[in-house]
Point group: C2
């Protein structure tokens, strides 16, 4: 059976998920640091803080990649809705999403109110995209 | 070798990641739907839209769980900072985080400006938590 992941399948977007330390700089160096070493200048900080920051950086890389994937999906939704003349926003769907995410957040120990604010933040951006797509398709 | 995941390890927080359809209602029913079926009332929608919404719901469940994990880490950071008298905010660290996430977003096809707005949104909440911890510890 072929391996699920191998070096040949690693593109540039995977770099942020690397532990990175000690790899030195490369084509991805930005302002003196690499994507994998945002906490590289935490010298003098308590080791526990450096460890936690490294975990936060890994989680943030995962969040960015998931958000990229989410907007790819909503981009397709926007195009589909525009093609079929469906309205960009769907209040009933949003209500169900909010109720579900609040419940998931509660189970995961995340403030449900924050989860709702977060979804509204994302949805506002999605609707902005959808309106742009709808405007393009009716021009 | 034991399986990495099995039914015995599935807790309630995993339910949102299930495909869920057809499982019926259970203890997690909220307003007539389960955590796994937020798009269950999409009847009459194009099948492609239902498929995309199901992917978006899976991504959202992953985002909520990652955010919960991120706040667990920043909660520890806040407690550590308060114990050691370090200030809640760290402008240099935030600047590095923003530069790194913008670069990761760019590689992943996500609007870097949105990634920055997103991080600022999260950091604002984190600082709110840290200030609350610092206030508690100095009372």
């Amino acid at each position: 059976m072929p391996p699920l992941r191998g070096p040949a399948r690693r593109g540039p977007t995977c770099r942020g998920l690397d532990r990175g330390h000690g790899e030195g700089s490369g084509p991805h160096t930005i302002a003196g640091m690499t994507r994998g070493e945002p906490s590289g200048t935490d010298a003098g900080m308590p080791p526990e803080l450096i460890r936690l920051r490294s975990s936060i950086d890994n989680i943030d890389a995962a969040l960015v990649h998931l958000l990229a994937e989410r907007f790819k999906a909503t981009q397709q939704v926007g195009e589909l809705k525009a093609a079929q003349g469906l309205p960009p926003a769907d209040a009933a769907r949003e209500e169900r999403q909010i109720a579900r995410l609040r419940a998931l957040a509660h189970d995961a120990g995340l403030d449900p109110q924050f989860a709702e604010k977060f979804l509204n933040f994302i949805i506002a951006e999605v609707i902005r995209h959808h309106e742009a797509i709808a405007a393009d398709s009716t021009d």
